[in-house]
Amino acid sequence: MAGTSGRFTTVIKAKINKMLDKAEDPGETLDYSYQKQLESLQGVKKGIADVVTAKKRLQMQTSKLEQSVVKLDTQARQALGQGNEELARMALERKNVAQTELQGLDQQVTELEAQQQKLIDSEQKLRTKIESFRTKKEVIKAQYNAAEAQVRISEAATGVGEEMADVGLAMQRAVDKTENMRARADAVGELEAAGTFDDLTQLGEGQDDIDKQLHQLSSQSAVDDDLAKMRAELGQGTPPPAAPQIEKGEGTA
């Protein structure tokens, strides 16, 4: 029983078969195959450029998130300075989520860079194979009869087709990855936007769903640590008495 083949092998086989189906008349199809290969190579180059663009966009999002972290930290400090611990806690929770996400993004951008480098290497390899095919096709044209040429073309085309499919899949993975990362960065960016404390009094009451989610998401102990640190820096030795507007019935740490 043959094993169930997955996405990688299946796609490759499909592409190769498609290519070979075209190779019915060796004389004509040789040049046609080569033409197709060159077109694919152009596609690969464009694909790599797209990956680079997507990566740059991600890096921009990352630096925006970094700014958010600084902003939220400042806002927490302000809130605490005004004795509004609940608000400070909220800002720190958001900062915490953004920071965690940033760490993940940094690592993924690094991985993406490695993938990108591999793609560039693969493109070079594909180019070499296509060049080799070009040389071979001239030999085949000159030396072999139709039946034998057919076999040799199939062999040569398989080698190129496989390489092409390999690059294609690598590219698809890189694209999937950037899209996935972008969606995550967007989500965190939205959280931050929802937590813009332009008017400190406005958010003092009535926490919305986002706040509750954040509350669960962020590491409570990290937030407590941050709060304690800020208090020390602000010269507030002990936690201030619970602010009267606190509605969640939450005690001091």
């Binding site: 029983m1 043959a2 094993g3 990688f8 390899k125 080698g159 496989e162 899949l169 690598a170």
Partner: protein
């Protein structure tokens, strides 16, 4: 036989390696099916290392097709779940 490691290249191995490759491949399948992520990572990297260590890399201008294709080294556990099922990617060696 020729084995391609995706995103990496092709290697030529003696037919004598077929059985060992099959064993390593089956181990990856078992780990994936057991939901053992760490085990998968180790087993998959062993499979690829075996190919690299025992195979001779094909030149970039070589136009031969591969007998087996293995996914790229950075294949995630989630992706592996779609790849490694049943007999795996390397069917059992002929008896």
């Amino acid at each position: 036989m020729i084995v391609r490691v995706m995103s990496e290249g092709q290697y030529r191995l003696d037919e004598g390696h077929h059985q060992k490759l099959d064993e390593l491949d089956d181990l990856v399948v078992a780990r994936v099916e057991a939901g053992d992520e760490n085990g998968y990572t180790t087993a998959f990297s062993e499979l690829l290392s075996y190919v690299r260590e025992n195979g001779e890399p094909l030149g970039p201008d070589d136009l031969e097709g591969s007998d087996f294709m293995l996914p790229p080294a950075d294949l995630s556990f989630e992706e592996a779940a779609n790849e490694f099922t049943g007999e795996g990617l390397i069917p059992d060696a002929p008896a």
